[in-house]
Symmetry: C2
DNA sequence: GACACCCATGTAATCGTTTCCATGGAATCG
DNA sequence: CGATTCCATGGAAACGATTACATGGGTGTC
């Protein structure tokens, strides 16, 4: 099953490999007769150029790497889709790596991406500068998306992690909530840190309680959202509203509320992060902090092409906003103090 | 920014490239002194072998291709995750392509995969034999997952598309439903065809209506589920129960029910396909036809490794079953005849 | 008609790695 | 001790494409 090479094509067409290569890659200096001979031979043999050989000779692989924490998180699935579609516009193939919210798996993927000599890299990174050192040292054009690593000059496309949380806290306190439970993301991520800081600072501007107890640290996965809901709802003074820092933890937390027979919207107010389609189906629909995933993915690719072209684009911060739905009704019933 | 090659490593270590290569790829015939010299030089220079050059020389790329219809479908996101994790066990890198439920994009990805000389290919294919011809001709080891193309000998891992649907129809008719609306998948997919056939044949065993009107043809995307719900609910004789052939169409359909103020579980019974986490959060939780996504992904990789090894493994059909939850209560209220 | 120019083509070098083959020294065996 | 085997090593040939350089024929200009 030896595959057919450009040499076979050239032989069948009766020309040299150089001419065959020129025809196949659209070089202008080719005659009509050579063109048709080579093209016919290529289709007759089912020739398919070997990408390895090509990228070995050229400097570029026409491939970008995308390292995300978890495809099963609908936010990242949407982001992956957006990046991939945009990359296609630039004729880039997207090499996708799923870090499983794990710094070690992430680093292994970075390693693979570099080994594969991707032309550029888009990542929602985890951990600190040390984990990224290999990537930064390699000099491969890189753009961060959603999350960033501090103390680097890597351009990024991130959501505004402050405004949405601020609006959510104000919204809840305006409704009369004074005990708001917060299920935080891991502090090894910029989104985890920034959203928590925004929550705490927004809280300080209100007369709501700021007990340390009301903050639970999760890891952006569903199970930790469930653990957080358990912990918070079993406090001596349980919260009357919950806010979770991503969609998977929201899913986990809501599952626990259902199990405990707590009706969201009446027994407990709930605000989720990310505007997942399924969240609008839950009855009552969830109030969410939303941002534009598609724009984020597109912009990340656009920035990356600029970096590859040698430019140094400005980082972009995309707005986020609160979408109020039924899970935070104006008159909280049940166990509100 | 020229990257460091094995020649630089060899020079620094004071050995030939051949020896350096042998040390770095763990060939037994190497001396202790050469090993340490080369390893030191490699780490000192931050050497990272060029995957293109390596795969050019070797026959294998240690890469498998995965072509799926849509990552944004949680079922396929889970499947992608399962495949990727299992592939890692075999030291394979997964090259991921998202066909967007579009035969043309799918074929472009197949083309890319072949150009990249993947060692094997896992696909949930769409369309007919002609679309796949290039892949089959190339002789690249292939396994189908979830969906198949008829008249091929490609091994596959598929769900049992009959039992779950049968159980769902029986369950609904036992509850007294006689008008069951079905939102079908595209007939260009095996899952779309088999599930529809199972629905029709199960219906024939009951005294429920089998009007052609009650079947709407969608495309496995959310928007078509919404269109299907609109169509079915506006029939002169609307159905009292809905069954949708995948999760995205279910999401679209449920959104429409909510908009129209139809309470699922009381005004309308609903059965969804695929046991998505979010479906158990909807209140009442959805009755679903479930199957084991993780097993499907793992088995697909296992089968592929067998094909790569030259064996011809048997295809596997994984069981599916009905999980009854609140969306199909025993006493349908409202508009039941 | 001579000269310059352009264009299609072929030869061969090149990309970075693996691996076949030859070599020479050490070890083993009768 | 001589012959054989073994092993670490280096030189060089592959893998399959692109492309710099050389070449020769055709065209245009004066």
């Amino acid at each position: 099953m030896r595959s057919v090479t450009i040499r076979n094509v050239a032989d069948l067409a009766g020309v040299s490999v150089a001419t065959a290569s020129r025809v196949l890659s659209g070089h202008p200096s080719t005659s009509e007769v050579a063109r048709s001979a080579v093209n016919n031979a290529a289709t007759a043999l089912g020739f398919r150029p070997n990408a390895q050989a090509r990228s070995l000779r050229k400097t570029s692989t026409q491939t970008i790497g995308l390292v995300l924490p978890d495809v099963r998180n609908p936010f990242f699935a949407d982001l992956a889709h957006a990046v991939e579609q945009r990359a296609r516009d630039f004729k880039y193939l997207t090499l996708f790596g799923n870090a499983n919210e794990d710094a070690e798996q992430q680093d292994r993927y970075f390693d693979i991406m570099l080994t594969q000599r991707v032309d550029g890299l888009i990542a929602a990174p985890q951990g600190n500068l040390a984990d990224l050192q290999a990537v930064l040292d390699s000099g491969v054009p890189t753009v961060f998306v959603d999350r960033v690593i501090s103390d680097t000059t890597v351009p990024s496309v991130t959501p505004d992690n402050v405004t949405g949380v601020q609006e959510a806290v104000r919204h809840l306190t305006n409704l009369g909530h004074r005990r708001i439970g917060y299920i935080a993301g891991p502090q090894s991520t910029s989104t985890g840190r920034e959203r928590l800081a925004a929550f705490q600072s927004a809280l300080a501007d209100t007369n709501a309680d700021d007990d340390a107890d009301l903050i639970f640290f999760g890891d952006f996965q569903a199970a930790s959202g469930a653990a957080g809901a358990h912990h918070l709802l079993e406090l001596p003074h349980p919260p009357t509203a919950l806010l979770a820092a991503d969609s998977l933890m929201s899913i986990g937390a809501i599952g626990v509320c259902n199990e405990r027979g707590l009706a969201i919207g009446s027994d407990l107010a709930f605000v989720a992060y990310d505007d997942i389609e399924a969240f609008s189906l839950i009855n009552p629909a969830l109030t969410v902090i939303a941002h534009d995933v598609n724009a984020m993915g597109r912009l990340a690719v656009d920035l990356l092409t600029q970096v590859i072209a040698g430019e140094t684009p400005e980082s972009v911060i995309l707005p986020s906003r609160l979408i109020v739905r039924g899970s935070t009704p104006s008159l909280p019933g049940g166990r509100t103090p």
